[in-house]
């Protein structure tokens, strides 16, 4: 663990034992969420810059055309990548994604994909040609809970994504032919376990102190889950995380619709 971890772990744990959090939040409260859609709209067909407390994440959507997967010839294709940019933390290095970065990307991807958020059936252009949607999440400042920040930024960006014009076998960049069809809005919600306490939206310091975390991505159903960390959960705790995820999911979903 890095120096910051050691310096904060005991302090955070002691606070939790007194039912307090470092920034004064309640255990089931998110930090302040700021949503800035179209942050890089001069190039990217969709984008969203999210601040979750001090965590800052920029999601950009790129659209291409290409062949569908052979087992789903009528469906568009989506792909999610995350880059932990080295400016975001003294611990992030330049280079290919490590296991943490890959986990964040795959968990966010599952939430979006399994919910059928992007209506892939509506992305068929013609025989053997479909729209390909790239979700690229750029982590710029790490103060904890990159999954939720990245998931919220991705969904908000997708909600505001326009499909480019496709004419005579090529994409006309800068011109658009309608919105990306979105059927559902999944929102991930991560809860950290510190001792016996469950804390929604862990900050970086709380992540240093946590034994485990559970991310639950929801629409009206649960679409993805991921347990992380070396600790464990019992059934009651898991259900508490699920319930929190539904509640927070609804709240944040409304925020995204209002930010439009």
């Amino acid at each position: 663990m890095e120096i910051e971890g050691y310096l904060k772990k005991d302090y955070i744990t002691n606070l939790v034992n007194e039912s307090k959090r470092e920034d004064g939040r309640k255990f089931d409260e998110h930090r302040k969420i700021i949503i800035d859609n179209g942050y890089v709209k001069d190039k990217a067909p969709g984008s969203c810059f999210v601040q979750l407390g001090k965590t800052k994440v920029l999601a950009g959507i790129s659209i291409a055309v290409g062949e569908p997967f052979p087992d789903r010839p009528n469906d568009g294709v989506m792909s999610t990548s995350t880059e932990f940019r080295p400016m975001a933390s003294p611990r992030f290095e330049s280079g290919p994604p490590n296991e943490d970065s890959i986990e964040v990307a795959r968990v966010i991807d599952r939430g979006i994909r399994e919910a059928g958020a992007i209506d892939l059936k509506k992305l068929l252009i013609e025989d053997n040609l479909v729209w390909i949607v790239f979700i690229d999440i750029h982590v710029l400042d790490h103060d904890g809970n990159l999954i939720d920040a990245g998931g919220i930024a991705s969904m908000s960006a997708l909600l505001n994504t326009r499909l480019p014009k496709y004419e005579d076998g090529k994409i006309i960049y800068g011109e658009y032919s309608g919105k990306l069809p979105i059927a559902r809005v999944p929102i991930p919600c991560t809860t950290a376990k510190i001792g016996k306490a469950l804390l929604v939206d862990p900050s970086l310091n709380e992540e240093y102190a946590m034994d485990a975390r559970l991310t639950v991505s929801t629409t009206e159903n649960i679409n993805a889950m991921q347990k992380g960390g070396t600790g464990s959960f019992n059934e009651e705790e898991i259900m508490a995380c699920v319930d929190a995820a539904f509640e927070k999911g609804n709240k944040i979903r409304k925020m995204l619709k209002d930010a439009d």
């Binding site: 663990m1 120096i3 050691y6 310096l7 904060k8 005991d10 302090y11 002691n14």
Partner: protein
């Protein structure tokens, strides 16, 4: 001859003057003295220093620092003091037969200590001495270049904080400050305010007013 006056703000490359002596964070070239950082110019006779607005910590003899034990080796520990340079602490600080002692019985990896810098060599590696272990309480980060203002002339600012919040405060020159007991929240708020407005004239009085107002 000066191109600026005392307490002017400068950025890197700004001409400060000639026939003066560069003391800190400025440099001489072709007879002229220029600023090397963004900050506040202080003129002391013919000596010029630029008080930097920000910057990291470079170990200095006699500084009190707060660090974390990073490694336990034979006869010594390595300590992380948030500096780019290695910091070591001799086992002799706790035991006369350091080489044969299991030093992790005294301090193990992850333990937080406060100590004094005893010596610094020419590549800035330093030796710590007189350690003692810190437990509980809160450690906050303050820009190392602004820490001197939290202490104040002859500890005037620090003593005022201690008195008016009732908190125990240890200031590490390396940008880590430990706070325990008393009104910890107010102590943190105050220190953060001092950090933000570090070179404001009359800051001590303004902070005193702030503390009085908040304590009510």
């Amino acid at each position: 001859m000066l191109n600026i006056k005392d307490r002017d703000l400068v950025v890197p490359g700004d001409l400060i003057g000639n026939e003066i002596v560069p003391d800190m964070n400025c440099y001489m070239e072709g007879g002229n003295v220029y600023s090397a950082v963004e900050g506040l110019v202080r003129v002391d006779g013919r000596k010029i220093k630029v008080v930097p607005s920000s910057g990291g910590y470079i170990p200095k003899r006699e500084d009190v620092v707060i660090g974390v034990i990073a490694d336990v080796l034979t006869g010594r520990w390595l300590v992380d003091i948030n500096s780019p340079y290695i910091c070591a602490m001799s086992g002799e600080e706790v035991s006369r037969d350091a080489a044969k002692t299991d030093l992790s019985r005294y301090y193990k990896v992850g333990d937080i200590i406060t100590a004094k810098i005893g010596s610094v060599n020419e590549v800035y590696s330093c030796q710590l001495m007189k350690p003692w272990k810190i437990e509980n309480g809160l450690i906050i980060d303050v820009n190392p270049k602004r820490v001197p203002r939290v202490v104040g002339k002859q500890k005037s600012m620090l003593n005022m904080i201690r008195e008016k919040t009732g908190a125990r405060v240890i200031v590490g020159q390396n940008g880590k400050i430990w706070i325990k007991d008393g009104n910890v929240d107010l102590a943190v708020k105050t220190i953060k305010k001092i950090e933000k407005y570090a070179q404001t004239q009359g800051l001590t009085d303004q902070i005193s007013d702030f503390l009085d107002k908040e304590s009510r």
